[in-house]
């Protein structure tokens, strides 16, 4: 999919258009307040119970409906079924709509489904919101409906699984009401979270393969809430997802920090890019010298990309060592046409100053290495595009992540990705081929 290099016509790429889409399709029910709190994950990690802290936040009372999403697509036609790029949504995207702008007959008030994570994220960004984190969603879901104990809730969820999949066509508001005034968390559809893939894989599993302990029969080895079947089903469900998936039973709602700022202005790419270019992402990034940039600014050179964080104790130093060794082994001609990009997974800690210190400490030449940081959401998106998975940060400041090293061609298309450079010569050969390619 990533290699399908159809170049979009320049005409289709309106130059430098800023779309102000704030408030479009903001839904009917407004947002409910979810108080701060903490809870234990239903599975141990490295034999230790994992407690998640959640700050108070606001969450849409209802899932986003077809009508809401229709307004969004109207404001941002790039999200329409016929326009969205395969990079951001698979072929099931809005497949039950009659056309680009018309939801299925009679489904306007039902939760929108068959939307990819990218599209859901873009929708929320449009509202000046974001997708809730998995921890936030799970915490909100613990607000029990009035008069129901947790076993009763579990039973009602299991009953949902026992019903045919047509629930998704019921209007929002017909599912459960929760103690926080949030509706339909259960009973209609599954919901995307911003970090749906952040759990359930071994932190240092370099291959990024979902860790079997989280979803197999062997899961009982790490389970801590053996009686909460419905909970495990949600975690297992999220583990089966990829961000471009557009499933019939999967919708979403948006969240916002209590001090959430106003709507963000999205910017389209200023240049023509192939459909499968990762540089199509509208995320904004900052270099370690504080300068703002967009991924499309990386065009022109073949890029070796990896994600890291400066306090990383295990994997990142190893990956960095491999990359520096690679740099040293590159002939001068190749070195001029190849650049390294390191993007932090921990933008909170890795300020421009921290990244700058990291550059100095690691001896990374300014003309060869880009060190980037972005918002938490945009970091998640780039990771999704690259296929990097990472866990939330532990109290010790560590996070598990996949040590993926990707090669992007001059247009930002991923031509290769490896988990650790085990064969430097082969990797150099790939780089040479990417450089030689005129695409």
């Amino acid at each position: 999919m990533l290699f399908r290099g159809r170049v979009l016509s320049v005409a289709a790429m309106a130059a430098s258009a800023a779309i102000a889409t704030a408030g479009v399709g903001s839904g009917q029910g407004g947002m409910g307040l979810v108080p701060k709190g903490a809870f234990a994950l239903p599975f141990r990690k490295d034999s230790v119970e994992v407690r998640m802290k959640v700050e108070a936040f606001r969450l849409d009372r209802f899932p986003v409906t077809h009508t809401d999403f229709k307004a969004f697509v109207k404001a941002d036609p790039d999200q329409a079924r016929s326009r969205i790029k395969r990079l951001f949504a698979d072929t099931a995207y809005l497949a039950d709509w009659q056309d680009d702008s018309t939801p299925r007959e009679g489904s306007g008030k039902a939760p929108v489904t068959q939307v990819s994570w990218y599209a859901a994220k873009a929708y929320c960004a449009c509202q000046g919101k974001r997708l809730p984190t998995t921890a936030e969603w799970e915490w909100a879901a613990k607000g029990l409906p009035p008069g129901m104990d947790s076993a009763g809730l579990d039973r009602s969820i299991l009953a949902w699984y026992a019903r045919p999949g047509s629930d998704r066509f019921h209007p929002v508001g017909s599912g459960s009401v929760n103690g926080n005034g949030i509706r339909d968390l259960f009973g209609l559809v599954w919901e995307w979270t911003s970090d749906f893939d952040a759990y359930g894989f071994a932190g240092l599993n370099q291959r990024g393969v979902a860790d079997s302990v989280a979803f197999c029969g062997a899961g009982s080895a790490t389970a801590t809430k053996e009686a909460e079947y419905a909970t495990y089903m949600r975690w297992a469900f999220r583990l089966s997802l990829r961000p471009e998936y557009s499933l019939g039973s999967l919708g979403f709602r948006c969240a916002r920090d209590l001090d959430g700022k106003g709507a963000r202005t999205r910017e389209r790419a200023r240049v023509a890019l192939p459909d499968s270019s990762l540089y199509r992402s509208d995320a904004r990034w900052w270099r370690d010298d504080g300068r703002k940039m967009k991924l499309e600014d990386l065009r022109g050179r073949v890029r070796v990309v990896s994600m890291f964080f400066s306090n990383c104790e295990n994997l990142c130093p190893m990956v960095l060592g491999q990359l520096k060794s690679l740099e040293g082994a590159m002939p001068g001609a190749l070195r001029q046409k190849v650049g390294f990009v390191m993007v932090t997974l921990d933008p909170k800690e890795d300020t421009s100053g921290a990244l700058s210190a990291y550059r100095k400490k690691s001896g990374l030449a300014a003309d060869q290495w880009e060190l980037l940081r972005g918002s938490a959401d945009d970091t998640r998106e780039l990771a999704a595009l690259l296929g990097v998975r990472y866990t939330p940060k532990t109290e010790a400041g560590q996070m598990g992540h996949t040590g993926l090293i990707a090669i992007l061609d001059r247009q930002g298309r991923m031509v290769s990705h490896v988990t650790g450079i085990t064969d430097q010569e082969a990797f150099l050969a790939q780089l040479s081929r990417a450089v030689a390619s005129e695409r």
């Binding site: 099931a92 579990d154 039973r155 299991l158 009953a159 699984y161 026992a162 019903r163 045919p164 999949g165 599954w190 393969v209 979902a210 079997s212 989280a214 979803f215 197999c216 029969g217 062997a218 899961g219 009982s220 009686a227 079947y229 495990y232 089903m233 975690w235 297992a236 469900f237 583990l239 089966s240 997802l241 990829r242 998936y245 557009s246 499933l247 019939g248 039973s249």
Partner: protein
Amino acid sequence: MKNERTPLNGIRGTGSARGLALAFLGASLLLGACRKSEDKAPAAAGEGPVVGWEDAVLTHAPEVPPPITRTHPARVTVRLEIKEVEKELAPGVRYMVWTFGGSVPGMFIRVREGDLVDFHLSNHPDNKMPHNIDLHAVTGPGGGAAASVTAPGHSSVFSFKAMNPGLYVYHCATAPVGMHIANGMYGLILVQPKEGLPKVDHEYYVMQSEFYTHGKNREEGLQSFDMEKAVKEDADYVVFNGAMGALADDKALTAKVGETVRLFVGNGGPGLVSSFHIIGEVFDRVHSWGGARADQEQVQTVLIPSGGAAIVEFGVDFPATYILVDHSIFRAFNKGALGMLKVTGPTDSSIYSGKQRDEVYLAEGAAIQTLPDGAAIKMPTKLTQEEMMERGARVFTQVCAACHQAKGEGIPMAFPPLAKSDFLMADKARAIDIVSQGKTGPITVNGAHFDGVMPRLDLDDASIASVLTYVRNSFGNSGDAVTIEQVKARRR
């Protein structure tokens, strides 16, 4: 089918699959190898390279894919679609089952030892759940589970070498795994030994499993999975092939006298171990635990663990309906673990005579349970005629009516009548003796000849007196009462 070969089958697949395989491999050497098998006996079966590419034949229970007659390993594509569908678990009881292939149990997969299997697992877009598959025949992480987590509307592909011959369970292993299994996600895969299995006339697929429903047993309507019952392993339904009656009556397995039958029997669980038995049959050969070779002969009941299987083979020699049960017998009669094998054909009385005589063994004990020694039950010593008639009627219904019939009419040739009975009314003392001591041998009642057995009835004196008084004054009879004293006197 031991050592039998139909050489052309060696490269038979679907036409397009074969063409694809050849195009894909593009190796004339391999094509040559295929052809070789047509005119030359191959080296030891199962050895040599993987040759040819074909689609596996999958079947719904109780059908089994035909034996594989290839004499070499092949590359085999298995396509299995997961569907969450509403099915009837018992009359009026519906359940949302999660299935491998649209029914419970999942489709039967048959490959050959040494085959390279490309497994395509698809999760139907209308499904709610992610699923995967753990095939016990697979050597590798999770038996394939780690490679096959699949969201609704997606497919996963992985490959494995079928290295270990035998009969294996496969099941979904997505969390919470017990629930996925409890909802119907299991089936059998046979890795046929390279030498094949002996030829039989019928092969059938039978899989036991249990269901835990929110409502109680037989409660109608759409039932959902009950986690608490499942954790307690307190099943509401224990069934063969996914539903009560799935192998009964018009859906029974069939065979003809003189034929041989092989059953591939699995147990999906999720919790219970099966004591698989066929009432009236003996398994001639058994592959215990589903192993590659028959290791037992003449077995009555095979233990099939949850997540395990067995292969049983037997000839059917006598026409009858044989009942498949889990011999943990309450499961059969109360929870549904009951199937049928209907065998038709001529009877052979040298094997089984059928009922020649209706006889009762006159044991030292009694037909009616004896009260434990020392049971202090107070017997009445005197009863009015009315009390005797009332008590007598009760005793008659409980004890006598089964043979002599409700109106004392008896059954010709078997049980003599009590109604208008000359034999009964002729001799009061003889009547007391027969009831208290039993009676064997020929008698004539109302001109009809009987030669049967009446068991000694362990009734107290008052009951014998009452029931005799009752029959002597019912069904067209009219006579005097039989007193407790008279009974007592005859029994001394």
